[in-house]
Symmetry: C2
Subunit: 288 residues, 2 copies
């Protein structure tokens, strides 16, 4: 099931983002968006649409737009003026291939390309649903969402006095959580979920997002380049604020376990094989 | 009249973009958006809405969003990895004040903040008008618009073999023209213009946009820092492809004069004092 979703998403990403002129710009956009990935955010968007009684076809444009937004954050986060990462998903990062100028512009371009995919391909959605999805896209993808998280993340880097629990929570909530919330809330909206189901889905998204980020913080310490496809051990080297740096690796694992159990419990109602597979995947990677 | 528009726009920009947390991010966004400027794009948006029978109140959110998009292009164009400009509108450029990381993120943030201003504040627009305005925003502000122009501009810099008339036309059309088209088309859409009036307005936008860019190319050679508020003579120093570098300064002035005359002729139908004032302002600055 998970693989079927990934194939569906990859096919549609390829169709939406064809090679156009200027060649370098579109090559750079396609390079990161079409890199092989787990496609977790779009998968969760489609699966929550399905779980809550919607037609996944209606959610495909939004699912793909969320993945493009995710790719945008990766391109800009890796830039020399940000985290200065040379690798992403096992390949040279975007600016290493296209230069920082084109990589910056490719990221910019994805920020308007992605919501236009939603706008142009969501004919089956009621205008109020379409506008609510776009509104969420702007909020969670913007200054009150993922970008707010990245700003605080950068501010905390190498600045021990800012390594507080409050800042850690803020970074995790926004930098990582908000794209999962956008994905899952959009899926729920498109399915026409009622208030109770919508809020439950949003709650799952926040729990899952935090679990995902803690797993990422743990893997930065315990994993290796081959498994993760990006430079590791960088958090400690750059004195980043992470769950592991504040609470230590054992507490991080305990917290992760408890969040994954909460997700499992929520999935008892959903009874989703896809969610089960995703949650098991995280346990496996972190050896829990 | 022109000054009244500018005051109206400045007041609304200030209201839409208040200081929020994270402080640095919003300070950086506000720094460039709220810098004193001619506000040409939002003024043209409001004035075309009025000329074509609309209510300018309905166009204020979109006019402000176009100015925010313009500010976004300035912030990112000035970055060290792009044109590396230290000054803008007479003040240190965004990254000189906030650093390249925050400046990059502030630009990113404006790209989602601006269309959300349109979405959240355009209650009087029919859904199909609102969606058409947003669609234009994504097109002209994106990979098929202003960003396409910037990519080719960068590619041509210092690369004489790319200094062709075709590339020059492409850069002017997209890098400069597309934001004027977005502003004026949006004003016309919000006014509910019929096809003929819409296309005429769009034609004016393209003519005006080209005139504006040629004037800018001329002023880069003939003006000084005090008048322009940015580093000048940079086009020639960086071997940029400009109207002056291809056709020489005298031909550039002739072309500009003919485009301004075309705009004047089109304004005979509109009979707009504001357009007249703007066109006279360009003549005056270039001494034509």
């Amino acid at each position: 099931m998970l693989n079927d979703y990934i194939k569906l998403i990859d096919k549609n990403l390829e169709n939406y983002l064809t090679a156009e002129y200027p060649n370098d710009l579109f090559k750079s956009m396609r390079y990161t968006v079409l890199l092989e990935g787990k496609r977790l955010r779009p998968v969760l968007c489609l699966e929550f649409c399905k779980i809550l009684g919607g037609n996944i076809e209606d959610a495909i444009p939004t699912a793909c737009a969320v993945e493009m937004l995710h790719a945008q954050t990766l391109i800009h986060d890796d830039l020399p003026c940000m985290d200065n990462d040379d690798f992403r998903r096992g390949k040279p990062s975007n600016h290493k291939v296209f230069g920082a100028a084109v990589a910056t512009l490719a990221g910019d371009a994805l920020l308007t390309f992605a919501p236009q995919i939603i706008l142009k391909n969501s004919k089956n959605l009621k205008p109020e649903t379409l506008l609510a999805v776009l509104d969420d896209f702007f909020t969670f993808g913007g200054a009150r969402g993922v970008i707010a998280g990245q700003v605080i993340d950068i501010k905390c880097e190498g600045n021990k006095s800012a390594h507080t629990e409050k800042n850690l929570e803020y970074i995790h909530k926004h930098k990582t959580g908000d794209l999962f919330r956008l994905a899952i809330r959009s899926g729920a909206r498109i399915a026409g979920a009622d208030k109770e189901n919508f809020e439950k889905a949003d709650d799952f998204a926040q729990t899952f997002g935090l679990a995902f980020q803690i797993a990422d913080d743990i893997l930065d310490v315990t994993s290796n380049f081959e498994e993760m496809g990006k430079t590791l051990g960088k958090d400690a080297a750059a004195d980043k604020l992470t769950y592991v740096s504040v609470y230590g690796i054992d507490n991080a694992k305990c917290k992760l376990l408890s969040l994954l159990e909460k997700c499992d419990n929520m999935n008892e109602d959903y009874n989703s094989e896809v969610l089960d597979e995703i949650l098991k995947g995280i346990r496996k990677r972190v050896n829990l």
